[in-house]
Symmetry: C2
Subunit: 131 residues, 2 copies
């Protein structure tokens, strides 16, 4: 159920990219691949984004140290910017650059709803479209 | 059976990229997505490749007009070079730039084994490593 909801949120995000003139797709077997992988790769002529996607009913979203390292490693090798996108319940997508996300004591990462609202980029801002 | 063989060939190709210092992944739902899609996306810091992968026991591999158009469209929007990789039985991978592949009378594309041997790039050549 939660997995299905996450998949729907990802599909919706991918459709948003195409609608905005970008190309985007889910990576096959993301999370289970033997090679580091984001959930989504998006790009246009000049920019490539590697995105780890999360959706949650909680007020904070955690990213494990391993997931963060995988996203960083893929992005460095592929040549993409590493981002985390979070869809909190009844909110729009917020995007945080991986390097700006707070670490917990055990080196996992956490994005609190209040921080996402304050510092996260909305979708159109992620695309560099500042209204 | 044939599909499984194709998937194995793709996995093997992806592992080759990683071994060579490139990042590569299969695109989820490639071929069934509502958006144009290659089978594999590969990249390093300076270059991105969108690859349609085929494996065949025949002496010629066809690519439908629709597949070719999807590969071209994705590549233009995403910002990647469009390539077709073919694995003929008991041969190594050969790669052809989409624009150099011959058209059949009905506008599908065809890569003959003899043309692949003559004009196709081998894997290390695709990566720009000319020995």
């Amino acid at each position: 159920m939660h997995k299905q909801k996450g998949a729907n949120a990802e599909r919706e995000l991918i459709a948003l990219f195409w609608k905005s003139g970008w190309a985007a797709h889910r990576i096959a077997g993301s999370g289970s691949s033997r090679f580091p992988s984001p959930d989504i790769i998006a790009g246009n002529f000049s920019k490539k984004l590697a995105i780890e996607c999360k959706s949650t009913k909680a007020k904070a979203q955690y990213i494990t140290k391993e997931q963060a390292e995988g996203l960083k490693k893929f992005s460095e090798i592929f040549g993409a910017e590493p981002w985390v996108g979070v869809r909190f319940s009844n909110k729009e997508w917020y995007f945080m650059p991986l390097k700006d996300i707070k670490q917990t004591e055990n080196q996992n990462l956490v994005i609190k709803l209040e921080d996402a609202k304050l510092m996260g980029l909305k979708f159109n801002e992620l695309l560099g479209e500042f209204p």
